[in-house]
Every structure is written in C-alpha cells, then in structure tokens.
C-alpha cells in the first residue's frame, strides 16, 4: 500500500470477528488506523483478527459488547477511550439476517433483527457523537444493504430489509444532526460472499449472479475498500449519502 489513508486514526468496528466487519478491521489497520475489534460471541475469531493485525505490524484489541445493549455500548466506547484516548471512526457493521419468510418469523426474530441491526447502530452512534463533536472531527460508516433500497431477492428477508431501510434513514438524519464536524454515510452492499450467502438456495444464487452487471459476487474486501474511502480525506465533502456497492445489481 503506497499511502496510508487512516494513519493515526482510532476506529471502532462493530461485528468485526467475521465477514465484512473483519475485512474492514484488517484493511483499516493496514491503512494505519488502530482498531477496536468488537464482537458479541466469537471471542476466538475476534482474537484471531487482533492477532493478524498485530502480526502485520498494526495495533488492535478486542472488546465484547452486544450493540443492542446500551450498557454494553457505553463500555465499548469507554474501553476505546481508556485504551486510545479518542475515537475518530465508528463502523456500524454488526448485523443479523433471519433466513425465513415473514410468514414464519416470530416476534422475537423481529425484535432481534431490529435491535441489533438498527438500534445497535443508533446506540453506538449516539455514544460516539458527543466525543467526536468535542474533538471537532469524526466519521461514522454504516454498513447497510441495498435491500433497504429496492432489492427483490433480499426483500424476502422482511425484518432485515426493514432494519436496513431504517438504517438508511438513520444515516441521513444523523448526518444533519451531527454536522458540521461529523460525517455520516452508509454503504449499501449488494450480495457479498459471506456466511449469509451460503445459506441461500443455488437457484437463487444463480439468478442473483445473472442480474449482476459485473457477474460476480462482491467480497468483504470490496466493502472494506469503500469503507476506507468514506473515512478518508477524499470523502470529506460527503455526508448523508448511501454508497451502493453492488456490482451493478438492480439495473435489470
């Protein structure tokens, strides 16, 4: 990497033990950021992420916290301050998708999805915003989904779609509330090859690829690259925006 875009920055990445969150944590560290690797259950995987970052010469540590629990979130942010003294970047990545029709899901499924995906982003953002305002600088990147915009195949996952549509609204509303020192944007990934995709039936998988202009799955690294851009100086004039990273899916 010829230039580190996030040198000296302190970043919290929620849901960073695997998938997109993991890729963002790794890439942020490679870009010079010191990273707080949040996880809720996978302590071993989170420890692996931290270890990989350290072996590459980076700096990171892991914090267990349920983003849907306010006390946990406060502890996560306090641990960041205790360890690094500030917080420049928050990536709200922690999320779940219930792979069932709304006809089959339960009220608990709804609560769990909305609590983690939407309330989690709300709580984490609210917790870091006063700190970033005092610092007179900071940026929040929400990992949303293009299913919150228009996507039929992802629309099958009702609770997930609702949570991501809510996250898109939250992104815009917080951009207004947190300006001028904090920028708030969302990335709306299309289908990214993660554990979530593996659970989808083969016929649907093929249809998704056929409907994607670049005819390939996205990778967690694709999303990480956009997450670097949105946190970098090159995106200083961007706030309240939804960046679609979907390989051209949705234009057919």
């Amino acid at each position: 990497m010829s230039e580190q875009h996030l040198a000296g920055k302190i970043a919290i990445v929620t849901g960073a033990s695997r998938g997109i969150g993991r890729a963002i944590a790794m890439r942020y560290a490679a870009e010079g950021a010191r990273v707080v690797v949040n996880y809720v259950a996978n302590a071993d995987l989170a420890a692996e992420v931290v270890e990989e970052i350290r072996q590459s010469g980076g700096d990171a540590f892991a914090v267990a916290a349920d983003v849907s629990n306010r006390a946990d979130v406060e502890r996560l942010v306090q641990a960041t301050l205790d360890h690094y003294g500030r917080v420049d970047i928050l990536v709200n990545d922690a999320g779940v998708m219930i792979n069932k029709s709304v006809l089959e899901t339960t009220e608990d499924d709804w609560d769990r999805t909305i609590d983690i995906n939407l309330k989690g982003a709300y709580l984490c953002s609210k917790a870091v915003a006063p700190i970033m305002m005092k610092q007179q600088g900071g940026t929040i990147v929400n990992i949303s989904s293009n299913s919150g915009l228009y996507h039929p195949s992802a629309m099958k996952f009702t609770e997930y779609v609702v949570s991501k549509a809510g996250m898109n609204g939250l992104t815009k509303a917080m951009a207004l509330a947190f300006g001028p020192y904090i920028t708030v944007n969302a990335i709306c990934p299309g289908w990214i090859r993660t554990d979530m995709v593996e659970e989808i039936d083969p016929a649907t998988q093929q249809r998704i690829l056929d409907e994607t202009a670049l005819a390939r799955w996205g990778t967690p690294d694709d999303i990480a690259a956009s997450a670097v851009f949105l946190a970098s100086a090159d995106a200083a004039f961007i706030t309240g925006e939804l960046l679609i990273v979907a390989g051209g899916r949705g234009m057919h």
Binding site: A213, F229, D234, T239, G240, E241, A246, G247
Partner: protein, 255 residues
C-alpha cells in the same frame, strides 16, 4: 501523492477549469496520462501547467461536446496519443440560468446536446474503444444534485442531469460484462466558475450554508477525490451507482 493510475490513460472532458481541471490534475498526479478536453475556443493551458507542476503528463484535445464527429475523433486521438484508453470522465457541462417560459428550442438543444447527448457519445465511444483494446475500464459522469431537486431558472439543466445519472446506471448494466464500470458523481455546492455568481448573492449563500450539514461549499479537489475513488481499484465492485458529494444538502433540501 499515491500512484493508483500508473500506466493508465484517461480522457477528461470540460477540463479547462473547475471539477474537470481538478480531476485531470489529480489523475495525472497519480500517474495517468490525461487527455485534457477543451472546446475549440477554450484554453487548456492552465490545466496542462498544473499537471506539469504535479509531475504528471497530459495533452490537450479539442472537441465541442455538441459536435458528435469531433467527440468521436477526440476519443480516438486520446487512445492513439496515450497508447490506450482506460478511463473516461464525462464532465463537460453548461448551466445557463433561464426562465422556464422563456426557454427556446435553441436553449434546450444547446443544453441537452452539451450535457446529455455529449455524455452519451463520449461514454459510448470510450467504452467501444476499451472493448476494442480488450481490457476493462471505468467511466465517471459528472451529474449534479440537480438530478434530485429542482431549482428555479435551472429546470432544463435539472432534466439533463437527471438523464446523466440514469444513463450512468443503465449503461453500467450493459457494459459490466466487458469489465467496464460506469458511475456518476452528483456534486452539490462546489466553488467553480459555474457557481461563482451564487457567491455574490448573500441570501443564496445563507440558504446553502444553513442547509448543508457541513455548513460550507466544496472545492473542485474534493470532487476529484471522489471521482478518482470511483475510477480506482478500490471501487472495483461499484458500478451503476450514483454518488452524492454534497455535504448533506439533499437530505435537508427545502423545495
């Protein structure tokens, strides 16, 4: 400056000032050879000078975006002189203020031929050249927040920008299989020749500052940063997308 575009060749239209100039300079500073488009009566000297100062390489190419033959020839010329063509930044545009009920056929044709038809020709010719050369590429069209919100005295302009954003999305869907990505940037209130008259209008300045989440106008270099991201490998899964670069104006626009 990092060097993401070494060995690449770019064409930037409307590159004699503003966003086009800043983009041409940024791409050249990052290693691309840049064809700097000017109108027949334009002057690319300043842009070429800035490219030189940045340690980059560029050359002027002349075409009026309203003239299809000139645009086609320009694309060929850039590929010939640069040795290949990897990127097209379709940026040339005009924004004459006029009342909707006084807009003439000539006004409309001038606007749409420059902004929309010009974008269509230069991006399709660019993509054909990339396909002929047998490699992928990336295209960015400069659209505007005007693709989303209307504005008095700019209704026809808004229509061209809405067309440009949709063109980027639709075109990206058909050239993706050739490894060509197409996206649009939608600038908000940027300090350029096009927007300078607005800075002499205190009520307009107040309107913008109060509504923009970041409370300020943007610089052409900030647009160049967004455009260069969309051209770069970091955006390799970004296509048929539009990217607002407006500091949070649209989310608070009052119309």
């Amino acid at each position: 400056m990092e060097q993401r575009f070494i060995g690449k060749v770019a064409l930037v239209t409307g590159a004699t000032n503003g966003i086009g100039q800043a983009t041409a300079v940024r791409l050249a500073a990052e290693g691309a050879i840049v064809g700097v488009n000017q109108k027949p009566d334009g002057d690319a000297t300043v842009t070429l000078q800035k490219i030189k100062e940045a340690g980059g390489e560029g050359f002027a190419v002349i075409a009026d975006m309203r003239n299809p033959a000139q645009v086609v020839e320009m694309v060929q010329e850039v590929a010939r002189r640069g040795g290949r063509l990897d990127y097209v930044v379709s940026n040339a545009g005009i924004n004459p203020f006029m009342k909707w009920d006084e807009t003439t056929i000539e006004d409309w044709d001038n606007l749409s031929e420059t902004n929309l038809r010009g974008t269509w020709i230069v991006t399709t010719e660019g993509a054909k050249q990339m396909i002929k050369e047998g490699h992928g590429g990336a295209i960015v069209c400069t659209s505007s927040i005007s693709a989303h919100v209307g504005s008095p005295f700019q209704s026809a302009y808004c229509a061209t920008k809405g067309g440009i954003s949709m063109w980027a999305k639709a075109f990206g869907a058909v050239v993706g299989k050739h490894g060509i990505r197409v996206n649009a940037v939608e600038p908000g209130w940027i300090v350029t020749n096009m927007s300078i008259p607005m800075f002499d209008d205190p009520p307009a300045v107040k309107y913008y500052e109060e509504r923009i989440a970041l409370g300020r106008a943007g610089q052409p270099e900030e647009m160049a940063g967004a455009i260069s991201f969309l051209l770069s490998e970091d955006a390799s899964y970004v296509t048929s997308a539009t990217l607002l670069v407006d500091a949070g104006f649209i989310v608070n626009a009052e119309l």
